[in-house]
């Protein structure tokens, strides 16, 4: 046995456990969440806020009544989709930071339905198709750069985010602007809106579109040959090549699927979020959905089913934040701090896993260069 034979063993040993602690992933997440709550409570106690009161307000605000639940679910809807964008690419071995920009593009494309009329239902479907295609096409930029020129997707997607950011600002303020309400774009007509699920809330049937997309992604990744190839190439590119898998193809596919999800997220906001059904200048409706989605993906362990729960949890945090401020008198900054602590605690196990894979790949890359 030479040292060369046993080196891979050592490197792989770190990857052997399925989760950080070796516990069941759901149980591990529960423990992480409790730890986050505890630290958040300690922080609040230090600054003399009553943690019990604060958490109770947060929980009842998020899940205490129909309005709270509906509001949490509505916040969760776009996050499910943007989290999937990120996760599909992680499964394919990439860090796609581009959901943010793809959401903008999807929202802008969806808002275009305001320029023509179609029968109800069909109008909605056409709008969704616009958004999905726009998101998919937008993601092709970084994808093609990656596949043909080896451009790191983190860099290119961040650049594309800025392009879509200013493109969006320009279109909203100058081209797609509404004649009467100059602070926003033309409004999506009722024939192209998602019907509301609960009257008096902003929860619409867009939720089901998001869940359906998650289920489709789950089936693609775990039950089709294509998804199998995507995951194989993501976990071990050399073994995938040995297995006759074209990793350029899988990367391209992951990017496009992800872009479609992000585009759908944009549409879900423009076509499914009362009251305006339009994009206001500054794009407040859609800003940060892509980035929050990355956190949701981490908490959901980059698995479509885990993401559904993680997004609900995030939606609840957002909905509960208001109650925490109003009923428990915790200032907004403290609320955000506590939420941040909880999210980081929940994301740690998956972050550790993903970084271990990345580090492993980096070490191998450097070895090859130096050899």
């Amino acid at each position: 046995m030479s040292a060369r034979d046993r080196a891979p063993d050592l490197r792989w040993r770190a990857l052997k456990r399925r989760t950080l602690t070796g516990l069941n992933p759901a149980f591990e997440s529960l423990l992480a969440g409790l730890a986050g709550l505890l630290i958040g409570a300690i922080v609040m106690a230090i600054w003399k806020y009553n943690p019990w009161k604060a958490y109770a307000a947060m929980f009842s605000g998020a899940f205490g009544d129909t309005f709270g639940i509906a509001s949490s679910l509505a916040r969760a809807t776009p996050l499910i989709l943007t989290a999937l964008t990120f996760s599909i690419c992680v499964r394919a071995g990439m860090f796609n930071i581009g959901a943010e920009g793809q959401v903008y593009v999807g929202a802008l494309a969806a808002a275009c339905v305001g320029y023509f009329s179609l029968p109800p239902g069909l109008h909605l479907i056409v709008g969704l198709a616009f958004a999905v295609v726009a998101g998919g096409l937008w993601s092709l930029g970084p994808a093609i750069l990656k596949v043909t020129r080896g451009v790191n997707e983190v860099i290119s997607t961040i650049m594309f985010n800025w392009i879509s950011h200013f493109l969006g600002f320009y279109l909203v303020a100058n081209i797609m602007v509404d004649r009467i309400h100059s602070e926003r774009t033309v409004s999506v007509p009722p024939s192209a809106r998602f019907p509301l699920l609960v009257r008096g809330t902003d929860l619409s049937y867009a939720l089901f579109a998001a869940i359906a997309f998650a289920v489709v992604i789950y089936f693609i990744l775990w039950h089709t040959v294509t998804g199998y190839e995507v995951r194989a190439a993501g976990l071990n590119p050399t073994a995938a090549r040995y297995g006759g898998i074209n990793s350029r193809r899988t990367m391209l596919l992951a990017f496009i699927l992800g872009g479609m999800g992000a585009g759908l997220a944009g549409a879900s906001m423009v076509m499914g979020q009362p009251p305006t059904f339009a994009i206001t200048s500054g794009m407040g409706e859609v800003v940060n959905l892509g980035f929050d989605g990355m956190a949701v993906a981490m908490v959901g362990r980059n698995h479509p089913i885990g993401i559904l729960f993680a997004a609900l949890f995030f939606g609840g945090l957002t909905a509960g934040a208001r109650a925490m401020q109003m009923r428990a008198g915790v200032p907004l900054d403290m609320v955000l701090l506590v939420e941040g602590i909880i999210v980081v605690a929940l994301a740690i196990p998956e972050l550790a896993r993903v970084f271990r894979i990345l580090e492993h790949r980096m070490v191998r890359f450097l070895r090859r260069r130096s050899a």
Partner: protein, 537 residues
């Protein structure tokens, strides 16, 4: 042969630098890397450490430099205890090692690289001091390196000299070089050797790890030969011939490799599209390679103008020390690496330039040399790994490219039964399996393709005797069923016992091709070390 074992121990006891006494090393997984090895390192001497892959050379040097504790025995020095926590401590003691793979920062120049090796975390680089020191050192040793050019712009031989400079600048007394010539051109080798002789004459002790007989004969003063963890010779270089060295290195006994038949009949093997391409006609070259040249990652030609045929019903074994182009050859034949020149056909179809999937379709099974890197996706389950490479077969793929998990799981259970894979079930992660079972999974997956040709690279590496034997039997069984088998192995005994024809590969070429009985072991050892019959005479 036992006569020369004791020849070179007539020095006064205090005139040694390091001494290993009855050193045994057993790794935590039970591998016995060294068995009661005695070794003395002396100043003003170049010691050659000769042996095949896995003979224990690297383990021994790690123990000598105090980086690895021996399981039994001890390492002593007149200068104090030989036990270090890091290479840094070993350097402070006076032991420096130059590895096969350099640890240089490519964008830094030589001076910065040397200074970096001296620095402590967060300290400033002492560039001015280092320059003075390095220039003195270069004058003293005759070692010449451009100091102000980024090292990535330097030739490999120069980079190696920077590595040596790094170590020498720490005032070491013992310099260990691990296969230093494997990356060098012949001219660079000559330069390195004259440098080493100069260092020796200045009083340094040098250990040169190598498997090349010519080199070890030309530069060393004394040679210690390791075989399967045992020291089988400690000889003065002047008193030994390459033939004697070769015989010591490869040994004279053949490890028994059984041929017990196992239950694996033609009917049991699932039929796949590949079988249509099978040709049972005796003597037809299923694999035909013509003037194939393949480059390594370093852009150097690793396979040079190679031609051979592998016929149905034969095992064609390629023996040789690893790193002589075997990996590149296999990668070129299986679509994992581009060939620069030449042709390789399988049943008449050229495979050069085709991707792996197209090549598998021609009836090729590939048992890769590195099961963790190539053969398996470790976090995947047994079932997912069992279809790697065949995932698109009709049998496993339903409408809309849906995976037929029921069929796949059934296939896995059949593989587990037939090939004796010990696992909790098809959904067990591959990483939870033992090495032997992982390898059985790969071999089973590949043989279940019912291939026309099996390309097996190091198929039994790291396995216990039972599992290794089992896999060897499977290869023999495939051979008896008329398949062609290309076996590449660094285990000479394995190649000798299984092959119908053997090629000895050295630096990208076949030194010889013959039937196993036509070689004696001394001849093979010489060929593996790059010495042809003519040169020896």
């Amino acid at each position: 042969m036992t006569g020369i074992t004791q020849t070179a121990n007539a020095l006064p006891p205090e005139d040694y630098y390091l001494r290993a006494e009855r050193v045994t090393k057993i790794y935590s997984d039970g591998t016995v890397a060294l068995k009661s090895v005695d070794l003395e390192v002396r100043p003003r001497e170049i010691l050659g450490l000769l042996g095949e892959n896995g003979a224990g050379k690297t383990t021994l040097t790690k123990i000598l430099s105090g980086l690895l504790p021996p399981t039994k025995g001890r390492v002593i020095s007149p200068r104090g205890p030989v036990k270090f926590a890091s290479p840094r401590e070993a350097l402070q003691f006076g032991i420096g090692m130059v590895h096969q793979h350099f640890a240089l920062v490519g964008t830094f120049n030589a001076l910065e690289n040397v200074a970096l090796s001296h620095s402590r975390p967060f300290a400033r680089l002492q560039l001015a001091n280092t320059r003075k020191r390095v220039e003195e050192l270069m004058q003293e040793s005759g070692l010449d390196v451009p100091l102000d050019v980024p090292v990535e712009k330097l030739a490999v031989g120069e980079q190696q000299r920077v590595e040596i400079l790094k170590v020498l600048s720490r005032d070491v007394d013992l310099l260990i070089l691990d296969e230093p010539t494997s990356v060098l051109t012949p001219l660079e080798v000559d330069e390195l050797f004259s440098l080493l002789r100069g260092l020796r004459d200045k009083g340094k002790a040098i250990i040169l790890i190598t498997h090349k007989l010519k080199e070890v004969g030309s530069v060393t003063d004394r040679i210690v030969i390791l075989r399967r963890g045992e020291s089988v010779g400690d000889v003065k270089t002047a008193q030994v011939t390459p033939g004697q060295l070769a015989r010591l290195m490869v040994g004279e006994t053949v490890e028994p490799v059984g041929r017990k038949a196992i239950e694996l009949t033609e009917e049991e093997l699932p039929r796949h599209e590949a079988s249509r391409h099978m040709q049972h006609s005796e003597g037809a070259g299923i694999l035909h390679v013509q003037a194939l040249t393949v480059r390594a990652d370093t852009r150097e030609a690793a396979v040079k103008d190679l031609s051979f045929d592998v016929h149905g019903g034969e095992i064609f074994g390629i023996a040789g020390v690893e790193g002589n182009g075997q990996s590149e050859l296999v990668e070129a034949l299986t679509g994992l690496r581009k060939a620069t020149q030449g042709v390789a056909t399988i049943n008449g179809t050229n495979v050069i330039g085709k991707d792996p999937r197209e090549i598998y379709r021609l009836g090729v099974a590939h048992v890769p040399e590195d099961r963790w890197r190539l053969g398996l996706v470790l976090p995947f389950t047994l079932a997912e790994n069992a279809i790697l490479g065949v995932q698109r077969w009709e049998e496993f793929r339903g409408p809309l490219s849906f995976l037929r998990w029921r069929k796949i799981n059934q296939h896995v259970r059949e593989l587990m039964d037939r090939f004796g894979i010990q696992a909790t079930g098809p959904s067990a992660p591959a990483k939870s399996l033992s090495g032997g079972n992982q390898q059985k999974l790969i071999v089973g997956r590949e043989l279940a393709k019912d291939p026309a040709i099996v390309i097996a690279s190091q198929p039994t590496r790291g396995l216990d005797i039972g599992a290794a034997q089992y896999i060897r039997n499977l290869l023999l069984e495939m051979r008896d069923n008329g398949r062609a088998i290309l076996l590449v192995s660094a285990d000479l005994d394995e190649v000798l016992a299984l092959s119908d024809r053997i090629a000895i590969m050295y630096e990208g070429r076949f030194m010889a091709v013959a039937k196993p009985g036509d070689f004696d072991r001394e001849k093979i050892g010489l060929l593996m070390g790059g010495v042809t019959a003519k040169e020896e005479a």
